[in-house]
C-alpha cells in the first residue's frame, strides 16, 4: 500500500470536528414535557439542554397534578429538525419524564405568556401608556401618581410589541413568565 498523498493544507478535520450534513434551517418548537414532580427534575431537564448545547428560548414549570405529583414543563427551543428530534429523544430517555409532546407538530395550539411591566411617567406619556394598555387589553394592577404596573397576557409576540411601545413611555422593569402552551380542542 503506498503512502497517502494528501494535499498539505487541504481542509482538515479532526475526528471530533464531525459536523453532520443535516439541513441547517432552524425551526422554533414548543415542547410540553410531563414529568414526576420530584427534587432535581428541573435540573435534569436544564442540564440536558446545557450539557448537549441545545437552546432554551423560554421555559416554564409548575405542578399540574397534585395527587399524581406531575409537573408540566413547557420549553420553547430552536434548532435544526435533526436537533429538535434529538432534543425530544433525549428528553424522552430521562427516567422521570413520562411524556414529550411537540406542540408545534401535533396540531394547532394556544400559547400564552403573562408579563408585568412597571411604567413611570407623568403628563402626556402617562396618558399615552394608559391608552395603549387599553388597546392591548392590559390591566393596571398597581398605580401611584407617577407609575403604573400593567399586567398583560398574550402570545410572546404581543408581549414583545407592548413592551416595545412602553419603552419610550418610561418602561422601568419587566417580568415575564415564559410560554405556557396547550393543544386546541378537536
Amino acid at each position: 500500500m503506498s503512502a497517502l498523498k494528501l494535499k498539505k493544507g487541504a481542509s482538515s478535520h479532526s475526528a471530533y470536528n464531525l459536523r453532520p450534513t443535516f439541513s441547517d434551517a432552524e425551526e422554533r418548537h414548543t415542547l410540553a414535557v410531563i414529568v414526576d414532580n420530584e427534587p432535581g427534575v428541573l435540573a435534569r431537564v436544564i442540564g440536558l439542554f446545557s450539557g448537549r448545547g441545545y437552546n432554551i428560548d423560554s421555559l416554564t414549570v409548575a405542578e399540574v397534578d397534585h395527587t399524581g405529583h406531575m409537573s408540566r414543563i413547557t420549553i420553547v427551543t430552536t434548532g435544526t429538525p435533526q436537533i429538535i428530534e434529538q432534543i425530544k429523544a433525549q428528553l424522552g430517555r430521562i427516567v422521570v419524564v413520562h411524556d414529550v409532546h411537540d406542540l408545534t407538530v401535533e396540531g394547532r395550539t394556544v400559547e400564552r405568556e403573562l408579563a408585568l411591566l412597571r411604567v413611570t411617567g407623568t403628563g402626556d406619556k402617562r396618558v399615552e401608556a394608559l391608552r395603549l394598555a387599553d388597546i392591548f387589553r392590559a390591566n393596571v394592577v398597581d398605580s401611584t401618581l407617577d407609575s403604573f404596573v400593567f399586567e398583560i397576557t398574550g402570545t410572546s409576540e404581543k408581549v414583545d410589541a407592548f413592551a416595545d411601545l412602553m419603552r419610550p413611555l418610561g418602561l422601568e422593569e419587566i417580568a415575564r413568565t415564559g410560554v405556557a402552551a396547550l393543544s386546541r380542542g378537536t
Binding site: A10, S12, V95
Partner: protein, 585 residues
C-alpha cells in the same frame, strides 16, 4: 410479609432480594451502619478495594463478564466524587451498575458538613438516574427501582444517595414484588413493518454488511446466538466495534475483524463500499465513522438500537428500528424464514471476492526481528498461548488496547472488557479484579500499558488480599504510546510530556505487594515467560519491555474517510495528516 428494620439492614436485604452476591466498596463515616450490617451476614461478599474509582471499575468488570449488574458501596463526599470517573465510564459504555453512597444526615445537608458533597448534583449528568433518599420508608422501594432502571432499556449506572440518619431509622421493608410497578418500561420489540422492509432490502442488496456493537453484548447471550444464526442464514460479512467484540466468533467464516480508527482494512473498506449497512447495537461513534460527509457514501443504513436518541443522532437512517437487539433479531429471523428469503447469491459472491482482495493486503502484518520484542508480537504470542483457556481479557487505554483488539480473538460475548466510550486509563486493572471475583477459576488477563496501569496500581493490594490470580500483561514502552504516536503524526515529532523518567521496577513492585513479578525483554524468552505467568497461581505483573517507538496501524487519520487508511510498514506517516490537522484533536 412486611418486616420492620433499619435502613442499613434494608440496604443489605434489598441487595440479597435482588440476587446480589458481591459488592465492591470502601467504608467511611457515612456508610458505617451499612458496613455494620454487612459484617453480620454471609450471603453477600464484600471486596475491599483501595480507591473508590477501583470499586466502580471492578463492578464494571463484574457486570460485563457476567451480564448481571455490578454493585458498589462507598461513603459520602470524597467516596462519591472518586466514583465519578467510573460512573461516567459506565454511562458511556452502557454498563449496568448500582452505586450506593452514604450521605451526611438529612438535617445537615446543605451545611457544608464534614465529608458532605452534593452527590446527586455531581452525578446527575454521569448516571442514567439517581436518587437522594430522605425517608427510610422509601429506601427499599428506591433500591428496587434502581435495579430496574439500571438493567432495563439501555443499561447504565444509577446511584442511590443514603443519608446516615435514614440508615439508622426503622421502617417497613418492601420486597421487590411489593413495590409499585415502575412507569419506566422501554420498548423492546421492533416495528415489524420496518423490519420487513429491511429484510426486503437485504434480499435486494448486493454489498451488505453487518456492523455490530456493544448493544448485542448487553442484550445477552441469546442476542449473540441469534446474530450468529442470522449471519449464517444470510451469509453476509460482519464487522464489529471495539465494544462488540465476541458477539460473533473471531473464527467465524464471515468475520471481517474490528472496524474503526484502528480497525482492519477489509472491515473499513467493506463499510465504505457497502450498499446496505445493518447497524445492530452500535452508535456511529466518531472513532467508527471518521469523516461524516465521506462515510459510506453509497449505502442505505439500518439502525437497530434500544435507545431512540441514538437513531439519527449523527448518521441519517433509512431503516430506524427501536428495540432490544435479541427481540429485533428474533423478529427479523422469523420474517426471513416466513418469506423463504434469499440473498442475491451471485452479487454476494462478487462482494466476497472484493473482500478477499482487501484481506490480501494483510493489514496486521508485522515482522519480529532483532532482540527487541514488538508489541504486536507480544500480543500475538499471548493469543497463541492462551486462546485455548477459559479466558477473559481486560485492557487499559491506548496502543496496547488497539493491539489487543486486533490480535486477540474472541469467540464468545462477555469475554472482553475495555473502556470504549470514555477511554479511561486505569480501567483495566480494577476491571480484571471484578472479572476474577466473578470467575474465580478463569484465566483473567489485563493487557496494559505501563502508564495506564500505574493510574490504579493501588489495587495490587486488593488482588493480593483476595488471592485473585489476575495477570497484568504490561507492554512497557516507557511512553504514553498513543499520545506519542499522535505527536509524531500531528505535532511535528515534539514529544511533549509523553514519557516517564521514573518508572518503577515492576518485578520489585509485585514482590513488595506479595505478588509475582516477571520481566521479559528478549523475544526468545517470551513464550516461556508467558507460560510462567499463566501457570502461576496468584497475581502476576508481567513487565514486557517492547519496542519504544512502534506505531499502531492500520489507522484512519484524523478527519479522513474509511478508504483513506494508513497501513503499517510501507506507509509514510510524514504525509499522512494535513498541516492544519495539528490544531485539532
Amino acid at each position: 410479609m412486611t418486616r420492620q428494620m433499619t435502613g442499613a439492614k434494608m440496604v443489605v436485604q434489598a441487595l440479597k432480594d435482588q440476587g446480589v452476591d458481591v459488592v465492591f466498596g470502601y467504608p467511611g463515616g457515612a456508610v458505617l451502619p451499612i458496613y455494620d450490617e454487612i459484617f453480620q451476614q454471609n450471603d453477600i461478599r464484600h471486596i475491599l478495594v483501595r480507591h473508590e474509582q477501583g470499586a466502580v471499575h471492578a463492578a464494571e468488570g463484574y457486570a460485563r463478564s457476567t451480564g448481571k449488574p455490578g454493585v458498589v458501596l462507598v461513603t459520602s463526599g470524597p467516596g462519591a466524587t472518586n466514583a465519578v470517573t467510573g460512573l461516567t465510564d459506565a454511562l458511556m459504555d452502557s454498563i449496568p451498575l448500582i452505586v450506593l453512597t452514604g450521605q451526611v444526615p438529612t438535617f445537615m445537608i446543605g451545611s457544608d458538613a464534614f465529608q458532605e458533597a452534593d452527590t446527586v448534583g455531581i452525578t446527575r449528568p454521569c448516571t442514567k438516574h439517581n436518587w437522594l433518599v430522605k425517608e427510610t420508608e422509601r429506601l427499599a422501594q428506591t433500591i428496587h427501582e434502581a435495579f430496574h432502571v439500571a438493567t432495563s432499556g439501555r443499561p447504565g449506572p444509577v446511584l442511590v444517595d443514603i443519608p446516615k440518619d435514614v440508615q439508622f431509622a426503622s421502617a417497613k421493608y418492601l420486597e421487590p414484588a411489593q413495590t409499585k410497578t415502575s412507569h419506566y418500561q422501554p420498548q423492546t420489540n421492533g416495528d415489524i413493518d420496518t423490519i420487513t422492509e429491511l429484510v426486503e432490502a437485504l434480499e435486494q442488496a448486493e454489498r451488505p454488511v453487518f456492523y455490530t456493537g456493544g448493544g448485542v453484548i448487553n442484550s445477552g447471550d441469546e442476542a449473540s446466538a441469534l446474530l450468529r444464526e442470522l449471519v449464517d442464514a444470510t451469509g453476509i460479512p460482519i464487522t464489529s466495534t471495539l465494544m462488540g467484540l465476541g458477539c460473533y466468533p473471531a473464527s467465524g467464516k464471515n468475520w471481517l475483524g474490528m472496524l474503526g480508527m484502528h480497525g482492519l482494512y477489509e472491515a473499513n473498506m467493506a463499510m465504505h463500499d457497502c450498499d446496505l449497512m445493518i447497524n445492530i447495537g452500535a452508535r456511529f461513534d466518531d472513532r467508527i465513522t471518521g469523516r461524516l460527509d465521506a462515510f459510506s457514501p453509497g449505502s442505505q443504513r439500518a439502525h437497530i438500537d434500544i435507545d431512540p436518541s441514538s437513531i439519527n443522532k449523527v448518521i441519517r437512517t433509512d431503516f430506524p428500528i427501536v428495540g432490544d437487539v435479541k427481540e429485533v433479531l428474533r423478529q427479523m429471523l422469523s420474517v426471513w424464514k416466513d418469506r423463504g428469503a434469499k440473498v442475491k447469491r451471485e452479487a454476494i459472491q462478487n462482494w466476497w471476492g472484493r473482500i478477499e482482495e482487501w484481506k490480501k493486503i494483510n493489514c496486521l502484518a508485522f515482522t519480529q526481528t532483532g532482540k527487541t520484542i514488538k508489541p504486536q508480537h507480544a500480543v500475538h504470542r499471548l493469543e497463541e498461548l492462551t486462546k485455548g483457556h477459559d479466558r477473559y481479557i481486560c485492557t487499559e487505554v491506548g496502543q496496547h488496547q488497539m493491539w489487543a483488539a486486533q490480535y486477540l480473538g474472541f469467540e464468545h460475548p462477555n469475554r472482553w472488557m475495555t473502556s470504549g466510550g470514555l477511554g479511561t486509563m486505569g480501567y483495566g486493572f480494577p476491571a480484571s479484579i471484578g472479572v476474577q471475583v466473578a470467575h474465580p477459576e478463569a484465566l483473567v488477563i489485563n493487557v496494559a500499558g505501563e502508564a495506564s496501569w500505574l493510574m490504579n496500581m493501588q489495587e495490587m493490594g486488593t488482588a493480593v488480599q483476595y488471592r485473585l490470580p489476575v495477570k497484568q500483561f504490561i507492554l512497557n514502552n516507557e511512553r504514553l504510546g498513543m499520545v506519542r504516536q499522535w505527536q509524531e503524526l500531528l505535532h511535528g515529532e515534539r514529544y511533549s510530556h509523553s514519557w516517564s523518567d521514573a518508572l518503577p521496577d515492576f518485578v520489585k513492585l509485585a514482590e513488595a505487594f506479595g505478588a509475582k513479578g516477571i520481566q521479559c525483554s528478549d523475544p526468545a524468552d517470551l513464550d516461556d515467560a508467558i507460560m510462567e505467568m499463566v501457570n502461576y497461581d496468584g497475581p502476576v505483573i508481567f513487565d514486557c519491555l517492547v519496542e519504544k517507538h512502534e506505531n499502531c496501524f492500520p489507522m484512519i487519520p484524523s478527519g479522513k474517510a474509511h478508504n483513506e487508511m494508513l497501513l503499517g510498514e510501507n506507509a509514510s506517516t510524514a504525509d499522512a495528516i494535513d498541516a492544519g490537522g495539528g490544531v485539532l484533536v
